[in-house]
Amino acid sequence: MFGWKQSSAAAAKPPNPEPPAAPAPEAQRKQDELMRRWIAFAGMQQRVIRTLVGEIQQTSAIVETEADSLSSRFQRLAVCAEQQTQRVESLSRLAIGIEVDGEAVGIDRIAGLLEETLSDVVEKILLLSKDAMSMVYALSELNANVNRVDSCMEELNKINKVTNMLALNARIEAERAGTAGAAFRVVAGEVRELSGATQRLSVDMDTELKAVTEGIANGHATLQRVATVDMSKNLMARDRLEVLMNALIQRSGNLTDVVGEAMKEAEVISADVAGMVTGIQFQDRTRQRLEHVVDTLHVVDQALDELKTTTADALDGPVLETPGDNEWVKTMLDRFTLGDLRARFVAQILEGGKPVDHRDDVAAPSETGTVELF
């Protein structure tokens, strides 16, 4: 494959017809020794290469398994992040206001409606208070009028009493005058009759007037009860509600700000997670690169194998490894800090063990992940 034999043959049969001078026996022995040491070194290199190939394949399997696991977790995280973003968006709508009959009503609009209603109530209370006091004034005026009528009735009664007295005196004088006073007696009787009628009318009017006075007094008392209901606390309720609504608007604003920030952060998290899901796909490229490295190492291994065989054929006697040839390997292994890696290298390079496929061991990645501490 690599043409070592042909090259060796070509070297063995040079175009120059004159045979080279044979090396001295001591020099030939030294050359053979060096060749044997090279073959031993090549064997060691091959074991190192094979061990490295095993490690690379194992590492590649670990990376691929862990990357798949990470990718799955990130995808779940992406779904959760997306759901979280939707929840925050939903919360944002809730923070702005309430839903009435399928229509979103903002807190500021609720406050506006409440303010409008309260203003209307305040206006009505003021109008009611004004009208009640206006009626109190009107009833007071009416009461004063009735009192004046009552005074007039008293005057009327006084006049009636005088008239009645005059009629009685006229009747007495008519009786004294005898037949001459007959006509005067008739007039006196009529006057007395008129006085009696006036008296009866006065009594009736007095009764009616008392009823009116009583009605006014009852009305005044009722109105007083209405007018003295203090609505000032109801008016001040608007003051308190305004404070509450302002606090509610303030809180709604703060909540909207916080939810807005949370929304932005949720979107950033979603974008980051989506980026990580994409970024975690690196294992495909890593595996391909490692396959190329492994393939290259296989080729080097085969080349060494061929060259080692060719060289061994040219030597007389077996090639034995001397302990001194392994010193560089021991020095290299001493630099390893991972215990299990070192154990595998010792088993495969120094003790000639076969590479073990550990890929099954890493098929199920641990949930928490383990890191060997140095």
């Binding site: 203003s119 305040v122 209370i125 003021l126 009611l128 208070s129 004004k130 009208d131 009640a132 006091m133 206006s134 109190v136 004034y137 007071s140 007083q224 007018a227 003295t228 209901v229 203090d230 609505m231 000032s232 109801n234 008016l235 001040m236 608007r238 003051d239």
Partner: protein
């Protein structure tokens, strides 16, 4: 409630608590002050501690009387509960309220 009337200056000073029970003296005072000649009538409220809804109603009736007489009714320096009631009822849109 106590009422002090400055007829010459067209000024009224009210103190104490202005409630329904004050309607008779208040009406007499309003009738008297608007019967006197002048332009503006000032009610000083700087010593008035409390006003109820009936008191507010009486002030509105006094405002109507002022309009009938083509006079201006000014409410001056309301304090405490009276000032808050004026704010809640937006009295400053109905009267000239001087702070």
């Amino acid at each position: 409630m106590q009422i002090h009337i400055d007829r010459a200056g067209g000024q009224i000073a009210m103190s104490g608590e202005f409630t329904f029970t004050d309607h008779i003296p208040f009406k007499e005072m309003v009738t008297e002050i608007f019967a006197a000649p002048g332009r503006a009538v000032v009610i000083d409220l700087s010593k008035l501690d409390f006003i109820d809804s009936a008191g507010l109603g009486m002030l509105l009736l006094a405002r109507d009387e002022a309009k009938k007489s083509h006079r201006e009714l000014i409410l001056r320096h309301p304090i405490g509960q009276v000032k808050r009631m004026f704010t809640v009822t937006r009295f400053n849109t109905l009267f000239k309220v001087e702070e």
